[in-house]
Amino acid sequence: MAQMTLEELRDTLVACAGEGDAVDLSGDILDVPFEELGYDSLALMESAARIERAYGISLPEEATSEADTPRALLDLVNGITASAV
């Protein structure tokens, strides 16, 4: 199954929760905590629901809330999509 890219995650975050004026999402944000990017727990819940629908997967609630950076969330998503092949 398709792997989710950082670009796709970025688009999902912006579509679900907008973007802050003070944050440059186009930079290297892989290891920047979501909190610093301006995304709170609700923004991540909203984004997770969108990712689940787009990739036809189910993201475990606890692991999702523990994924506090884009890299961690992408690893979680892509680990699940890879094992679903």
Partner: protein, 440 residues
């Protein structure tokens, strides 16, 4: 949710001892509560001065509702805001989580705070010199986030629960405007949301004054409403008080023999309400006037022989202000445009002021009834009347029964003397609220 208070509790005494604020919070001294900033979002004008100019010019915001196809609906008119692009005013972060009504509230608050010279995100080092716990928020909405919720319900039924936005959890909610204004401007002082149908906006301002008197120097207060999605509009029609007239100039005709109900509007006003001494100390630029008196009453149950509570609310607000009826230069009426309610309001005013005893107006005929937003928008207009010495006309109404005994401002604006104005609002199922404002 909070019901209007009984008269006995409306006259709160200054009580600095209960202040939960920080050491920087100056305790209320004079007990005077003034308005230092005004933000209006209304169908006839965006911004307080634009709204006021439109009222004086008689520019109407009532048109055929354009948000959806109203053919097949018994009513088709609305006081609709058409030139508001939320993206111009708000960060993209707020858009996915806010109903249109909340966008109006947050932007009106931004404008009111800018008008008051309080920097957005003032915090502890802001221009206002007020700490976050020195500033509270008290707002009212009668309808909540209808449009947002309608979209999410559609997703629920058409696509399934996993498609419903997590933001639905608060976007619909009566307290969300208070919350979003609080978060955006870092205001952590005592805050509340009041729901009192169409009287709730005045109750919010009354509670803001109470909050100031308890020791919070600055409170952002007022009300907004919007429900022009098909579900929200239908819900308003179901209430039975919306006119089915189709000519925008002959539809909402309060106190007219041809009154047939109101046209719903959207929008409202947010005010910056401050302790007078604190406002002077921080160097507030403009003091529009004082919230001198407030009262709320509740009607007796249907079938009771006791009279409706509107007159008592007005009397109590006057007493609270320490004024006599003769001190009032203008009354902003509730103006239901339902014949028996118009008659009841005329009777209340006649009883209090005498026949033709005071000029009365209802410029909400240019905006439609903005529900919880209507009272605060009228308050803004009343403060401008005291500033400029002129009252806008009651648009469209022409034929007022003589036995109403009403000196209604008709046709053109009228010069008004007097240093005090009375603003009235009624809500369905018995809410009555009154505020007296006085010139600075």
């Amino acid at each position: 949710m909070s019901s209007p208070t009984t008269p006995g509790t409306t006259r709160s005494v200054p009580d600095p001892g209960t202040a939960a604020g920080t050491s920087a919070a100056p305790a209320a001294r004079s007990g005077r509560t003034v308005v230092t900033g005004i933000g209006v979002v209304a169908p006839c004008g965006l911004g307080a001065e634009a709204y006021w100019k439109a009222l004086l010019a008689g520019e109407s915001g009532i048109t055929g509702l354009s948000r959806f196809d109203t053919s097949g609906y018994p009513a088709t008119l609305a006081g609709e805001i058409r030139d508001f692009d939320a993206r111009e005013h708000l960060p993209s972060r707020l858009l996915p989580q806010t109903d249109v009504s909340t966008r109006y509230a947050v932007v009106a608050a931004d404008w009111a705070l800018a008008d008051a010279g309080v920097a957005q995100e003032a915090g502890e080092t802001g221009e206002a010199g007020l700490a976050d716990y020195d500033m509270g928020v008290v707002t009212s909405t009668a309808q909540g986030g209808f449009d947002f919720t309608h979209r999410e319900f559609r997703k629920l039924w058409d696509e399934g629960p996993e498609y419903v936005s997590v933001y639905e959890s608060f976007a619909w909610f009566y307290a969300v405007n208070t919350g979003q204004i609080s978060i955006r401007n870092k205001m952590r002082g005592p805050s509340a949301a009041l729901v009192g149908e169409q009287a709730g906006g005045l109750d919010a301002v009354g509670h803001a004054r109470r909050t100031v008197r308890r020791g919070t120097p600055l409170v952002v207060s007022g009300g907004v409403d919007s429900a022009f999605d098909p579900w929200g509009y239908s819900a308003q029609l179901a209430g039975g008080r919306v006119t089915t007239a189709t000519d925008p100039a002959r539809a909402y005709l309060p106190f007219d023999r041809a009154a047939s109900g109101h046209v719903p509007g959207e929008g409202g006003a947010i005010l910056v309400v401050e302790d007078a001494d604190s406002a002077r100390e921080r160097g507030a630029g403009t003091v529009y006037g004082e919230i001198a008196g407030y009262a709320a009453t509740f009607d007796p149950p249907p079938g009771s022989e006791r009279p409706p509570g509107l007159r008592r609310a007005a009397e109590l607000a006057l007493a609270d202000a320490g004024l006599e009826p003769a001190d009032i230069g203008i009354v902003y009426a509730d103006a239901a445009a339902v014949p028996e309610l118009d008659r009841a309001e005329a009777e209340a005013l006649r009883g209090l002021f005498g026949a033709y005893g005071v000029p009365v107006t209802a410029p909400k005929t240019l905006t439609g009834r903005m529900y919880a937003g209507g009272g605060p928008a009228d308050l803004a207009a009343a403060l401008f009347t005291l500033r400029d010495g002129v009252a806008p006309a009651t648009a469209h109404t022409t034929d007022v029964p003589d036995d109403y005994g009403l000196d209604l401002v008709l046709g053109e604006p009228r010069a008004v003397r007097g240093r005090a104005a009375l603003v009235l609002a009624r809500g369905r199922h018995g809410f009555n609220s009154a505020i007296v404002v006085t010139a600075p």
